[in-house]
């Protein structure tokens, strides 16, 4: 039985067609994956379905449970049982789980909230989504994985029949992702339909019953998973419209001498007294080498990288940094940059880019001294630099004057890379440089990274995606709970070995307790 049918949906932004006669058919009780590159129109389509873009701003029709729908807002779609869970979670940190679940949907009579009932009902929902937490706990005290579960509980509280999940596992570690996918399968058994938007194709193949591929605002095909043979290559082919023979560009590493060496690095939590975040970490990186740091979310990789980068994180930092064998002192970010370090953050939007600024302004930001004399910025030089990098890194934008907030994730990532490449560092620390961006853009970014290594720079590559770490790194450190728990060469590394390193260290830690 078909629960949802979207027919010939077209949507314009100004004169530009974002969706071109897209159709989507979802059967009741299935998990339907929606895949496509960034900009393919997935989110636009879902925003139309959930009423974010109200009826009348698009053409085509939506039939939900046999009924024609003309939603004028999210409230109306929710009433019908459609709930959307956005990529950026919409929970309020200083309210409890129970309060968040029933936000806008309070258990109340005459406007007076029945807290007893709120708590009880919330507890039931939490059990259903498999979250073992007290409903009175504040959201801010939960990890991202658990928050995601609260979001789902919130949707269930509204009697959702169709759940739309936009990149639900983008910010989750493997374990939490697993739990979440498991939960989707459970919910499916109890008759809830789900539309899953995801870049992680292995997950999609694992849980989806049907996969619809969008490209450039049009439906390419819908694959029925139970019928045919589905593999990642087939999906990728559909998404990018061409054969992508190798997901990682080839490179012959030319590895030189030790460039950067960090010894006995220890960092304490900036807020909680006496809590060690990084414990006695020692690593070294050679010229022309791409070194991966792999680990679960929360392993301390970002904290480690930032503490090295001019003490941008943590306090009571101890340890030693040597560059080219010489000991260097890096107490501020400025010093770090002067010493040839660059850190490309994992958090593009909040810590990486000036979103209201244009390409030009963002690219020059960390190296204004290179385009200025006696504090006066040379306009022409700045323009030239931005134009150069826009071309070199193939940043797709209307011009160097386009605001960065209007670029796609992949292009935003390239702007950040441009900024740090322009700073001409010797050592680049890249933190999740491909998070949330599509396959094509990923390939381009790998190519850029390879080029940088080719030029003799040392690259530290932090990523949660194991295939990617295995695909491009020459050597991999495995990190867990603030410690280096393994070091693997390209030849010996595999997903299993990395996971084994992590598991073993967890067991050791447990043994210690």
């Amino acid at each position: 039985m078909v629960i949802l049918e979207m027919r010939n949906i077209s949507k314009y932004f100004g004169t530009v067609k974002a969706l071109d006669n897209v159709s989507l058919k979802v059967a009741a009780g299935e998990i339907h994956a929606l895949v496509g590159e960034n900009g393919a129109g997935k989110s636009t389509l879902m925003n139309i379905l959930s009423g974010v873009y109200p009826y009348g701003t698009y053409s085509g029709e939506i039939v939900f449970q046999g009924e024609k729908c003309a939603f004028r807002g999210i409230r109306e779609s929710e009433k019908k049982g459609i709930a959307i869970i956005h990529q950026d979670l919409a929970l309020i940190p200083y309210l409890s789980i129970a309060e968040n679940i029933y936000l806008g949907n309070e258990r109340a009579k005459w406007g007076v909230i029945n807290w007893e009932k709120t708590r009880q009902d919330a507890a039931v929902l939490l059990k259903k989504v498999g979250l073992r937490e007290n409903p009175d706990v504040f959201i801010k005290d939960l990890g991202v994985g658990k928050q995601q579960l609260v979001e789902i509980a919130k949707a269930l509280a509204k009697n959702a029949k169709l759940l739309i999940l936009d990149e639900p596992t983008a910010a989750l570690n493997e374990e939490d992702s697993d739990n979440l996918l498991q939960l989707l399968l459970e919910l499916k058994k109890s008759g809830i339909t789900a539309i899953l938007i995801s870049h992680k194709l292995n997950e999609v193949i694992r849980v989806a019953d049907a996969i619809t591929i969008l490209r450039d605002g049009a439906t390419i095909e819908t694959i029925n998973v139970s019928e045919g043979r589905v593999n990642e290559d087939r999906i990728i082919r559909g998404m990018v419209g061409r054969e992508l023979t190798d997901r990682f560009p080839k490179r012959r590493p030319k590895i030189g001498g030790v460039y950067l060496e960090i010894k006995n690095w220890t960092v304490f939590d900036p807020k909680i007294e006496g809590r060690k975040i990084i414990k006695d970490v020692s690593i070294r990186v050679h010229r022309g080498e791409i070194v991966g740091i792999s680990g679960l979310m929360g392993a301390g990789r970002t904290e480690f990288a930032m503490s090295v980068f001019g003490k941008a994180y943590g306090r009571q930092i101890s340890g030693e940094i040597r560059k080219d064998g010489e000991k260097i002192m890096i107490n501020t970010i400025k010093k770090a940059i002067q010493n040839g370090l660059a850190y490309v953050t994992e958090d593009r939007k909040n810590a990486g880019l000036i979103l209201i600024g244009d390409l030009r302004q963002n690219i020059s930001l960390s190296s204004l001294d290179k385009i200025s004399k006696r504090w006066i910025i040379n306009d022409e030089k700045e323009t030239r630099v931005a134009t150069d990098y826009r071309e070199k890194l193939k940043i797709r934008s209307s011009s160097i004057y386009q605001k960065v907030q209007n670029l796609s994730g992949g292009n935003q990532q390239k702007v950040m890379l441009a900024k740090w490449i322009f700073a001409a560092p010797d050592i680049l620390i890249l933190d999740e440089p491909t998070r949330g961006i599509d396959v094509g853009a990923k390939y381009e970014i790998y190519t850029i990274i390879n080029q940088l290594a080719e030029e003799g720079k040392a690259i530290i590559f932090i990523s949660s995606e194991l295939p990617e770490v295995l695909g491009i790194c020459d050597r991999i450190y495995v990190m867990n709970e603030g410690r280096i728990v393994g070091e693997l060469n390209r030849e010996e590394a595999s997903q299993e070995r990395i996971m084994r390193c992590i598991m073993q260290s967890m067991q050791r830690n447990r043994g210690r307790l």
Binding site: T332, A351, L353, T383
Partner: protein, 405 residues
């Protein structure tokens, strides 16, 4: 979704010339307030029966609003860092004026020495407030609210609740004096401003043409020729008409020289210099700025230090204009300055806004004040109308931005 939209939109760099309608639209939004100012002036010119733009009144407009213009410059920088405002500027201005009064009138100190001391006091106050805001990270709103009470209290203490007056001529001249006539005065027609405006016009044409040529050479978008020429002509016409008005009255007021120096100096500072860029970067995204090696604490500190010094300048100018230092001096200045910035297009969350915008905003308020006063509208109504204008200006900005999305 949005990405596809943007990719396909106007390709500026490849064509080097922006389409006329696109440029017109982009420029209209930028100049909306300027156009509004022109309309407001035309309205009052008619409503006051031509009094608004009488040479004497034009000069008056400048003198009357000089303090708001000075404060609006500094306030722009504060707002740029992230929507921070400074509530203490009126009280600081009063405090400095009180010091001027005490030193010059009571202690008979040399005017120049007293002014230097006044400006130094501004620096000290700036260090004081900047320290709490930038290094202790107490919200600027709270620190400057405290400063507003603190310096008002100190003003009263120094003045013992009394008004000090009059100042010597040499001090008054700051606000009521005119530049000496460098060129002959014919029939009450003062040639000096005309010569200045002519030089300005020529320089403007040369620099603008040079800029445009450079842009064409580097293949970065230029606006169509007719818009460029139109813009240039408008600016030149406005400047020369203004100069004509000054010429038929008493010439160039000294305050105008101070203002011109401050406005062009700060315009250059915010648009062309590295620290200026830091201010915008900090307001745009403080964490990103920090991770790019910018010491945002120092930026914030400097901005509030600067604001206090400009408050001191405003205090001196205002005391010279009213020829007195009194306990209630500068009451409400902070709100005028803040309103000017927001009318001029500054964003309440920081990172967006210009010095020129704030000046236009201040002039909008100034012309409204002046025009309504001439028409005999009471100050109670004036305030109501100004409040309404502030709201409408910001609403216009918000709505046009939403539509652009």
């Amino acid at each position: 979704m949005m990405e596809t939209v943007k990719v396909k939109s106007v390709e500026i760099t490849t064509t080097a010339r922006v389409s006329a309608s696109y440029a017109l639209k982009a420029n209209i939004r930028q100049y909306a307030m300027l156009i509004a100012l022109v309309f407001i002036m035309i309205f009052f010119q008619i409503a006051t029966g031509g009094i608004l733009l009488v040479p004497m009144n034009v000069t008056n407009l400048i003198l009357q609003n000089s303090y708001v213009l000075i404060l609006a410059i500094g306030m722009t920088l504060c707002i740029l860092t992230g929507g921070n405002i400074d509530l203490s500027v009126g009280s600081v201005a009063a405090f400095i004026a009180a010091i001027m009064g005490t030193l010059i009138i009571e202690e008979k100190m040399d005017v120049t020495a007293a002014i230097i001391i006044g400006l130094l006091m501004g620096v000290i106050i700036g260090i004081w407030q900047g320290f709490w805001i930038a290094y202790v990270r107490i919200p600027a709103f709270i620190v400057t609210l405290a400063g507003m009470l603190l310096f008002r209290g100190l003003t009263n203490t120094i003045l013992k609740g009394l008004t000090l007056s009059p100042f010597p001529r040499s001090f008054q001249r700051i606000s009521s004096g005119y530049l000496p006539d460098l060129f002959p005065v014919i029939d009450g027609f003062n040639l000096t401003p005309i010569v200045f405006s002519a030089i300005f016009s020529i320089l403007l044409i040369i620099t603008q043409l040079r800029k445009r040529r450079a842009k064409i050479r580097s293949n970065t978008g230029v606006i169509p020729a007719f818009l460029f020429i139109g813009q240039l002509l408008l600016i030149i016409a406005a400047v020369n008409l203004f100069a004509y008005a000054l010429a038929t009255y008493k010439g160039i007021p000294i305050v105008l020289v101070i203002l011109a120096a401050l406005i062009s100096g700060y315009h250059f500072f915010t648009t062309k210099t590295v620290p200026g860029r830091y201010i915008y970067a900090m307001g745009g995204n403080e964490r990103a700025a920090r991770l790019s090696g910018i010491d945002t604490n120092r930026v914030l500190f400097f901005v509030y230090l600067n604001m206090a010094v400009l408050s001191a300048v405003a205090g001196i100018v205002f005391a010279a204009r009213t020829d007195s230092a009194f306990p209630l001096l500068g009451n409400g200045f902070e709100l005028d300055a803040i309103a000017a910035c927001f009318i001029g297009g500054a964003s309440a969350t920081g990172g967006i806004g210009t010095v020129i915008g704030a000046i236009v905003g201040a002039l909008v308020m100034g012309v409204l004040n002046n025009g309504m006063s001439i028409m005999g509208i009471g100050s109670d109504w004036q305030m109501t109308i100004k409040g309404f204008v502030l709201l409408m200006a910001v609403a216009f900005d918000v709505l046009s931005k939403n539509r652009a999305k």
